[in-house]
Symmetry: C2
Subunit: 233 residues, 2 copies
């Protein structure tokens, strides 16, 4: 039977064998929610980038420069890390280069997998449909916060496991922990997620609407996938 594992933070990704597996990268607040929103809304492609300087170099080549450090838009970038910015008509059809504290780093650390996909509550249903028909086992790679596990990404991992566990067997205790967390919290998902440390940090920037948007279930029917250096649908 195919399996589904959970890596609670990029600092533990070396404990998972990614070869021949499909990795689903998750950064609910907010990078992977932004990526899903942007690609569903007509952005041509999104390129995850490690460094700010590299993003700026891509800006010279015509990319929209996107991203944050410590939750705030980087000086000189075109957009920050709000899903609402990714709905802007001005970026339709454009290529975006994104560099964030957690999410884009987790994508780059998933190197070696047979496929790298993007997961968020916003595309949960489409992701489930896609994963169950694949022959490979799955590793959910939670971006966490600065190397630590976080609540909202773990909640999402639990939600995804809950949907696929008839076809993919949860493997390892992190998967069990994530699933139990989801079982506890699923009747008040938004409330629990807004109680996370990262949500509290972000609320100080006045972006509660962003957080509520990121927790919407299956708003978009897309499964972003890394092809070469670019995420596309």
């Amino acid at each position: 039977m195919k399996t589904i594992e959970v890596c609670l933070t990029p600092e533990l990704i070396h404990q998972h064998n990614l070869e021949g597996r499909v990795v689903v990268v998750v950064d609910i607040f907010r990078a992977t929610s932004c990526i899903v929103t942007g690609l569903a809304g007509g952005v041509k492609s999104i390129r995850p980038v490690r460094e700010i300087e590299e993003t700026k170099a891509l800006g010279q080549e015509g990319y929209i420069m996107a991203g944050e450090r410590g939750g705030e838009k980087v000086d000189g970038f075109d957009i920050g890390n709000s899903p609402f910015e990714y709905q802007d008509e001005a970026i339709k059809g454009k290529r975006v280069a994104i560099s964030t504290t957690n999410g884009s780093q987790a994508i780059l650390k998933s190197d070696g997998a047979s496929q790298i996909l993007i997961g968020a509550f916003l595309n949960l249903e489409s992701l489930v449909e896609y994963l169950v028909q694949l022959p490979q086992s799955v590793v959910i790679h939670c971006a966490g916060w600065k190397g630590t596990p976080n609540l909202e990404d773990t909640l999402f991992a639990g939600a995804l496991i809950d949907e696929v566990m008839e076809e993919l067997m949860p493997l390892g205790d992190s998967a069990l922990i994530a699933h139990w967390l989801y079982v506890s919290a699923h009747e008040n998902l938004l409330g629990v997620a807004l109680d996370s440390s990262h949500a509290k940090r972000l609320k100080d920037f006045g972006i509660k609407e962003d957080l509520e948007f990121c927790m919407e279930n299956s708003k978009y029917q897309v499964v972003p996938k890394l092809v070469g250096k670019e995420l596309v649908i």
Copy 2:
């Protein structure tokens, strides 16, 4: 207000500031359950040791040599890692040197804390009483399994938080995850713990009784503490 954090695996302990904090080391299956059982039963002291060779050197000095690798007793050691072995009359009043895959390593990696304590379901109530009257904040250091988070240690972290959260505020998302897990699972703690990956591995050695014993709540009224290189009560 004092705080209580959770470190889900020793591989993430560098993310926690231990200075001035009390660390509670947890390895439910089975090292910290053994330590509590042994010291409650009259063992003089227990010394956590990293390497097998170092344990054997201490054996030459009169220590009881204890421990396992991969769940099985080390060749040439006096006892393995079962709490029932720690109840043996023959080791009363003796000093024990213990080297295990996860637990004794986690104790040694807690260096720098103002106090290092040993936690298990077996001494939960006494630990709670001790912690709430201390002035310091607390870090629960889960030993996990070979660097990965595990279910039973995380469950214990959640149970401890549940008991002390009026006096110690849960800090960081790992604490929230552990507490939600406990809230989900507390009505069937034994069943959930026996479903953990490590429990399944250990059951193959025919030691289900060990696991059930380790999940008994507050059987002993001791709080083992590291003094110099030795755990004592």
